[in-house]
Symmetry: C2
Subunit: 333 residues, 2 copies
């Protein structure tokens, strides 16, 4: 569990895209984003107040989050100076970098001396159990995709936001590094040891109030041969009551696999639902989330309309339109 | 890669069952089993020649394999004395124990001093790639089960043996600790990090002669919610040309999951085959392996007959009858 709120470290980001993790935190958990810390030459700007460490501390920030990719995969001396100072000022550090904070002896030594924590969100911090498959109280919704990176995390975050706006009980349950940094907690599923994958998702989505929904962040795709095992573990560990099908209609092949065509939404439905019903016989497919970012407004609306008619299910682009329609579908269950 | 042949260490096994890994090596790779090493009070006997370290060395043994469970999960002083002496005599050590050899400082120190290797087959020794899904040359056969522990490893070993007896090209590809100790190589799939599961199976079953078959050891079951992700990774990483359905007809619920009924063989076929065809559109279900150990001869034959008629596929118990019928089915493809 990463202590919030955050000071978002943008370093010397070469452009706005390099700071997309920080952007995600600011977009989805603005209450966690006290300010931004930028080094000279930083080309990203979240529109947050620029703060030094002392100002952020005074504003209540508890953790400095590295919300930016590092150039060349090295934690530079310029960065390290700030990270050390932050530990000395009483901040914890959290990072999704490939190079781990814990592999930097200087940071480890200072953190220990100052009694602060280093959170590398790519690495599991918990000994997860083996899944027991027992029915849990409360409700769970999982987005499953025709491919990787089609907007599953965005869909779950948007649905969680809409649920909360309606005064309904909802928790976003992160299963990837960006999601974990956004919400401060979660399971880095792609780094969990095989035997414990499903158990980690049971751990992440425990018994809850009967009217509470976990919005579980999806990973991979049953149709993506590199990661389908991870998706399978999410479906069985999450024992979802509701599935959202996620799709990006302009993609021409599976991400990173040029020889693999995308499945149709019908194939995804007919594959995912029977598998989900092994763990939860009452599971239903309730809606479709379509990432229309590559389309103009008219084309996007026509695409959504066609999918909705063809599949007989509500279809929405939660980025373009909000997640109201998808949350309506959950509420109607 | 564990150096063969082996001296099989049975320790102070309280009964024959405790030595089942050693028994598996002796049954399936008798040419790897030079002799057995027993401590006082050992109640297991493989029918191999009892040898001390010097005699085994003279007979060509390269690795001392701990083919027995340890009492109380502790590597005792009596064991350690033998293990240290073995390293000093020039043996490598291989173990499938939960306590790792590498966590015993004395063994690590002696191994280093003597230039010997410690193989803990529960722990991956390779940095596996992420699966790329590319079509590989050669053929692959995978056993998929209605449940865990229904005889998938036995089926693959028996088919591999029958293939070799017919002069056909075949390799048993181990994915679990017993299989790895039997064959000296493999992937401890349940201990591989999620993102690399399918890639580890691609690594294990590389390009090969067009008429060569990999007999891939199955794990878990698509219907076992604790381990289904592991099974999924095997199906997509293995890109099998042939599936064998494995079943234990007397089981009343999924292993360890009292609330979960077993699927029918039809359900297994209809679930596994479309998933397998994502990675290999030519995949076929070619036969059924039935573990009839809990049945008398007449009952077993009637059961096999019924399954064969119902499913329209050859059905055999490879332990009771040999794997001839299943290999015939492969040859007929």
């Amino acid at each position: 569990m990463i202590e919030t709120p955050y000071l978002l470290f943008l370093g010397d980001a070469p452009d706005q895209l390099a700071a997309k993790v920080a952007q995600g935190i600011k977009d989805w958990r603005p209450e966690h984003a006290v300010g931004q810390f930028r080094l000279e030459g930083c080309k990203a700007d979240l529109g947050l107040k620029d703060m030094d460490l002392a100002a952020a501390k005074a504003a209540g920030a508890r953790t400095l989050v590295i919300g930016v990719a590092n150039r060349g995969g090295v934690i530079s001396q310029a960065w390290k100076k700030v990270l050390v100072a932050a530990l000395e000022e009483g901040f914890d550090l959290a990072s999704g970098l490939h190079n781990l904070l814990r592999d930097e002896p200087e940071l480890v030594a200072v953190a220990e001396a100052c009694g602060r924590s280093l959170h590398d969100v790519r690495v599991p911090e918990v000994d997860y159990p083996i899944a027991n498959g027992k029915k849990r109280s409360g409700k769970r919704c999982l987005a499953v995709g025709t491919d990787c990176s089609v907007g599953k995390m965005y869909t779950s975050l948007a649905m969680d936001k809409e649920m909360k706006a309606r005064g309904l009980k909802s928790s976003f349950r992160a299963t990837g590094q960006t999601g974990i940094l956004i919400t401060g907690d979660g399971v880095p599923l792609d780094a969990v040891v095989a035997d414990f994958m499903a158990g980690s998702i049971e751990w992440l989505t425990p018994d809850n109030d009967a009217d509470h929904w976990d919005m579980i962040e999806g990973q991979g795709s049953l149709f993506h041969v590199s990661y389908s095992g991870v998706t399978m573990a999410l479906i069985h560990g999450g024992q979802p009551d509701a599935l959202i099908l996620s799709h990006e209609p302009t993609r021409t092949h599976m991400r990173g696999l040029p020889d693999y065509a995308l499945p149709s939404l019908e194939q995804l439905r007919d594959t995912a639902l029977p598998l989900a019903r092994i763990a939860n016989p009452d599971c239903q497919v309730v809606g479709i989330s379509v990432n229309t970012a590559a389309m103009g407004e008219d084309e996007a609306m026509a695409c959504l309309d066609e999918i909705e008619k063809r599949m007989g299910l509500p279809a929405a682009d939660p980025f373009r339109q909000g997640a109201g329609k998808l949350v309506d579908a959950l509420a109607a269950m």
